[in-house]
Symmetry: C2
Subunit: 387 residues, 2 copies
Amino acid sequence: MRDVAVIGVGLTKFGELWDVSFRELMLEAGVRALEDAGIDGRQLDAMYTGNMSAGQFINQEHVSSLVADHAGLVPIPATRVEAACASGGLALRHAIIAVASGLHDFVVASGIEKMTDIMTAGATGALATAADQEWEVYQGATFPGLYALMARRHMYEFGTTEEHLANVAVKNHENAFLNPCAQYHLKVSVEDVMNSSPVSLPLKLLDCSPITDGAACVILAPAEKARMFTDTPILVAGTGQASDHISLHSRTSLTGLNATVEAAKVAYKMAKVGPKDIDLAEVHDCFTIAEIMAIEDLGFCKKGDGGKMTAEGQTTLNSAKPINTSGGLKGKGHPVGATGIAQAVEIVSQLRGETGKRQINKADVGMTHNVGGSGGTAVIHIFRRAD
Amino acid sequence: MRDVAVIGVGLTKFGELWDVSFRELMLEAGVRALEDAGIDGRQLDAMYTGNMSAGQFINQEHVSSLVADHAGLVPIPATRVEAACASGGLALRHAIIAVASGLHDFVVASGIEKMTDIMTAGATGALATAADQEWEVYQGATFPGLYALMARRHMYEFGTTEEHLANVAVKNHENAFLNPCAQYHLKVSVEDVMNSSPVSLPLKLLDCSPITDGAACVILAPAEKARMFTDTPILVAGTGQASDHISLHSRTSLTGLNATVEAAKVAYKMAKVGPKDIDLAEVHDCFTIAEIMAIEDLGFCKKGDGGKMTAEGQTTLNSAKPINTSGGLKGKGHPVGATGIAQAVEIVSQLRGETGKRQINKADVGMTHNVGGSGGTAVIHIFRRAD
């Protein structure tokens, strides 16, 4: 397999984007990525699109064809991949495999979700189709409810507190405040989170990521051709993907995601690095408890210490292990199919030193961690500067 | 890239399968393929699932995780791909790329759709999401209506008749009669087709493929390891994928599918063969006109001669170019996400000489042709015997 590099990235504003359609939104991210890479669309060999559920959100399947068409890239091979909220990470992974295999040279990995076109109740129902419908949702579980079960167990086993959870939201909103593309430019305090409306206790409104429209794009090339397009190619050092039992009741533990642990093993091995080598990570904080479990499962701290690590400020922008410098799903927004690609956009931008006020000092090796459903899928990527 | 071979295939009965759930149906095809390959599930490295719209049909996204879980294959990397009715072909293609790249050795490509769990009106609406919702369906187009437009134009330009169309249905029902897994064991005459209820004229009920439940599986291995499992490995000689404008009004012609032409070019080149070398093909006959256009676009006859070629019996089981020996989508049934994989199951079985009463004499090189929507995507594979 060949080495693969990122030569361009593009991101739209995240938020409630009433005035732009699905196809226009995707095009906007794509054009930005093409301009960033300095590549002509006609040079592209294939495209991958991560999208969770345009079928439910906008009544449209076959979005790969729609997007290729609207982007003027016909007859390019265009593939949609889906693994709920990990759809973007999975699109990136398959774009990487396509380049690494030698089949294609220049490949776009994109992600998109247009979630606000249907009513919020509809969006919540659509998101729940990421969990096991027959064995969980039809029995009364909501999607926040599943993560609330994990939070309760984490609190019981490790003494994690609601304040620990709140600290994740506070930090990620701080970071989002510095990200022009973020949905929220709104700082929140621990008290704000603690006093926000209950969703599924212990999770309150400000423990939950929002419903968001957005799109993101990454352009890949064989590493040996990357410098034709950019002075700062970012190498894909590792990729890992794993599955887990889709229903919580089949798992051996509720306090972590085994898919994360397994995918991380593969990615760390491929990249020949360990948790200590990761300078920064974008992790899947769909709920505050999810970030705490993620930093434990990825090996950034001992199992059970994620809440304390966060509350002690060890994951802030200026700490030794900045987590979710973009604002994360919580502050930047979570257009589910786009999230995995947007995470890569942030890491690449940090490694290039191009994130302005939220730029961290040492950014040589970065990680993205993208989860599908309540942990049925995890996709992890490790990037490093080429020089 | 490494050469890739098929070492096992599995297919469920196609039809209205009220007594089996989505996950059970997928498992049935998977177990058959594992038994056929003589491989243990624990040896598998990755799985790909083609599925068009479990989100709309059974209210479940994230089916890759569901399927991996129910098959006992956790933490296997599990990916769903979707391109409407070409989802299965696309799953096969990405499984092939994963093996060819060297990333994985033993990979399952599966396809499934459970369509009868919702009302027929719902199924028709769900299928229409394969077309451009905003620019076609919201304006009043139905999915059969789009193919009817193509049929009308084909009749106008080339003198194709309704009887020509009917001959496709007659032939494919003849073949399905010999296929134990087919949805229909029911021969029809040209008169039956001509007198069946109008759906979208000139297409009548018996010009249309049915709504079907079904699943199919193919197991791939690096060619050099295939003989550890089977005496008759079937090589993947070529794979091609292309897109086209999703809306008919953007295309330069209505009498063929450019995605088919483009994907075929790539697949023929990779396999180093031409249309004359193809001994048999499973083509995408979602409507009778689609088979006529397919055999033209694939180069089996001159553009415009597909109707005549069919009516003259040049595509029957005992002809020089048997098309849809399985019964095709029309007679075998069309569980949309499963179709592309089921096509490969038929070709592999024919090349192995294992299709019983419908076995053709010379089967060295075979082709599958899988279309998404009204032609927005096409995926083509060419297989040949390894000896």
